[in-house]
Amino acid sequence: MSVKTSPAKQPLFHIVKRDAMPWWKSWLVRIAAVLVSLVVCGIISVILTKENPFKIYGMMFEGSFETERRRWMLIYRTAILLAIALAITPAFKMRFWNIGAEGQVLIGALAAGACMFKIGDSMNNASLIAIMAVSAIAAGMVWALLPAVCKAFWNTNETLFTLMMNYIAIQLIAYFSYVWKPKGTGQLGVINQNTQAGWLPDIAGNKYLLTVIVVAVLTVLMYVYMKYTKQWYEISVVGESENTARYVGINIKKVIIRTLAISGAIAGLVGFLIVSGADHTVTTDTAGGRGFTAIMVSWLAKFNPLYMVLTSFMLVFFERGAAEITTQIKSLNESFADIITGIIIFFIIGCEFFINYKIVFRGSGNKNA
């Protein structure tokens, strides 16, 4: 009569979702993950280079901090990555998987570059820069709005759409930099080298400071936008549940379009900052994959702009450090930098698993049940 109830053999371990971890504990886990990743990187570097691992860590620091130029480069690159992360965050909060930041930055850069190239000589620098900024913002906005409108009205898949928009932007840049390139050269090169028309002015003799200030202001604005505004509240509700949004009378179409307009505008602005502030040219590499790296910056920081400052700084620091190792040790090529960054990112993302879940081993399971 009795049904067999012999318990199935317990597996060696199983995975249990944790309750919320206190914030200090989760940060300890993250710091530990970074340390462990450095140890692993050290071991791999030693195997490949036969160098003292501390010398290799030293090189990483040198890569970011040795000279003033490098320190500014670190800050500048952090600012750009942070700004792109700020751009994609509203869309991601709304669960609109915008992986088109790369293209939105590029098209903004192209718009800014086009202004520099075409009307650089016809007006004073202030008006030119203003026009460049506005057209870059508009271009980024259009690039984000196309998928947003199609999503809002015909429920198209935004992931594919935004991804494909990246390639369109890349191809447009490839085309125009060919058309605009000076005769006898292979590429576009620096625009307005002599007149410096459309170049952002130096502040206190520093080329990057203005960009950094703009991004700092943007970060504060985004923080306020996220923490205190009704618009952000609407974005959160739409992201969590469209049914709830309908129930409370939120116009979902409007929120999708408005949010992507903001997202695209910021990305376009970043394109302008890169071209006008530092590169003074446009290439298909202007965004340099940062449109995708920014997704990681944003997620790792749980969409909090202040944490994003940290995550973007960390990613740039490791990237610069790895690049330095590659240049100092002759036997390595640039792939080594990728390996090192890959390992570090793997640990940083992997530790989030241990923050959200715990592993219960056989035998110790009962007390946690």
Binding site: V3, T229, K230, V237, E240, S241, Y247, V248, G249
Partner: protein, 518 residues
């Protein structure tokens, strides 16, 4: 006559619980060769759970299953196939971009290469044998609902099933399609197949089946021969004995019409008519119950009033108690309704998917309805915070603090947060859909008390319920709907569960008559 029939399937003492809810308690069932057996019961009476046990989707906690007199263990749908049991689910499980034949042979282990020609031939053979009309090459996304169902049935027959289980097969069909299906089912029975059909449409039970087994609240009530019973007797078996709940009910004070719905018609996204000519009045200071089998149009009715569901014709009139004017709420969005000064509160059926945002804390959930107030672009969190504190204190919400995401709360506490928010806006109309579903006894009584308090404040309360005992004790008047039609309005004080139960099942036959006339 049943003695000389062979029993092909027998269930004895089947019990299945989900947590603390007992879905089946010591259920007995027997099925003869070559018969159609109806399983009758209200929502939540355990019909579908029982069928899922037979088809291997659930495994019973205790009890035995016999096939052709031998005890068997059915622990997966594969086992069920082995014993020639096939189930046709209410929600079809087909691959849209595959053809009928491809769907039918899908999952059969007949080697890596599918012999399409042979399979097609076999599908045609089955179709002609029982009178199905199907194009084996047609893709599923081009098919009507009825054609999809046909594919599901052939799929089961293709696998050689002798016992077929159909879960509410007529719910999605037109009367003509239903007739056709019944013709086919009778043919299968005459061919020696045994068929179990789950339904709550009494006239279909009477028309189609040989015997009826009745379940009520997870318990087995009994089995009768269809020829020896009638609709009234079956209803009595189905609704069970009256349970005394002791819910207090005050006499309505000075009721005046607050919300008048006139000839409302409504078509859902699939183009099926879900509300037909619905008319009723909700008065201030009373609780109007809405009774009906799940999916009879209750949700669409409340959503139409709340401005969330498009209406094809009809009127929704709101009588403003202060301004003494009447507003038509039809085709207005929730925001427009609010801007008219209509204080309409709505506790939807799907609490965490519609009424609340699970990942937000109690404070942020409190301002879901009111965050937009004022011209400022910034949120005002002070009022919602005070409200959250009040709701937690007054309704005894068990929570670590007001900044806990609501998804972490238990079902009863989630509902208290939702109801607390909805009554905080001092509504003049309060609609609640299944507000006590899944709640324990104490939380349920808290909710009844809250609804009663609103009623005594002069609010027009509309309560959609499923437990007839509760409806009969709580509501002043009860509107009964069946298949989108109003089948009656009864006085809560002078009605019986049987009367309501009979009205609930009437809608379907009403519809059949209506449409055959055209």
């Amino acid at each position: 006559m049943s003695e000389n029939k062979k029993t092909v399937l027998e269930l004895a003492n089947i019990t299945k619980s989900f947590g603390s809810v007992v879905a089946n308690a010591n259920v007995y069932l027997s099925l003869y060769k070559g018969e159609i057996l109806s399983i009758l019961g209200e929502n939540g009476s355990g019909k579908t759970t029982l069928m899922n046990i037979i088809s291997g989707i659930y495994y019973p906690d205790s009890g035995k299953i016999y096939i052709n007199g031998e005890e068997v263990v059915i622990s997966s749908p594969k086992d069920a196939f082995k014993y020639k049991i096939g189930m046709i689910h209410q929600h079809f499980k087909l691959v849209d971009v595959f053809s009928a034949t491809e769907n039918i042979v899908l999952g059969l282990n007949e080697g890596a290469v599918i012999d399409a020609k042979k399979a097609e031939k076999r599908v045609r053979e089955i179709s002609t044998a029982y009178g199905f009309e199907i194009d084996p090459k047609k893709k599923v996304y081009q098919m009507s609902v009825s054609e999809k169902q046909t594919v599901e049935i052939i799929k089961v027959l293709y696998r050689g099933a002798d016992i077929l289980i159909l879960d509410e097969p007529t719910a999605v069909l037109t009367p003509q399609e239903t007739k056709k299906l019944f013709r086919i089912l009778r043919k299968m029975r005459d061919d020696g197949k045994s068929i179990i059909i789950i339904t709550h449409k009494l006239h279909e039970v009477m028309e189609l089946s040989d015997r009826v087994s009745v379940l009520c609240k997870g318990k087995y009530v009994g089995t009768v021969n269809t020829s020896e019973t009638n609709e009234n007797l079956l209803t009595e078996m189905m609704v069970g004995k009256k349970v005394h709940l002791d819910i207090k009910r005050a006499v309505p004070v000075n009721p005046v019409p607050r919300l008048t719905v006139k000839n409302l018609n409504c078509v859902n996204r699939e183009g099926v008519k879900v509300l037909s000519d619905v008319s009723f009045t909700a008065n201030s200071g009373e609780i109007l119950g809405i009774a009906g089998i799940a999916g009879s149009g209750q949700r669409e009715l409340l959503e139409a009033i709340a401005g969330l569901q498009r209406v094809s014709s009809g009127e929704i009139l709101y009588n403003d108690p202060q301004a003494h004017k009447t507003e038509n709420l039809r085709d207005k969005t929730p925001v427009q309704i609010r801007n008219l000064g209509v204080r309409l509160s709505f506790v939807p059926e799907d609490r965490l998917g519609m009424g609340l945002v699970g990942n937000m804390d109690i404070v942020d959930n409190m301002m879901l309805r009111s965050y937009g107030k004022g011209r400022s672009m910034f949120l005002q969190r002070k009022q919602p915070k005070n409200l959250a504190v009040d709701v937690v204190r007054n309704l005894d919400v068990v929570t670590p603090n007001i900044n806990t995401p609501v998804r972490r709360l238990s079902g009863g506490n989630v509902q208290k947060v939702l109801v607390g928010r909805e009554i905080s806006s001092a509504p003049t109309v309060l609609m609640a859909a299944y507000p006590v579903r899944g709640l324990d006894i104490n939380s349920s009584y808290t909710i009844y008390d809250l609804l009663n308090a609103q009623k005594e404040n002069g609010v027009a309360v509309i309560f959609v319920g499923e437990d007839l005992d509760v409806l009969v004790e709580l509501c002043d008047r009860i509107l009964v709907i069946g298949s989108g039609h109003v089948t009656g309005v009864v006085d809560g004080r002078n009605t019986t569960k049987e009367e309501i139960g009979l009205l609930m099942t009437k809608g379907a036959s009403h519809k059949t008559e209506g449409e055959t006339l055209q």
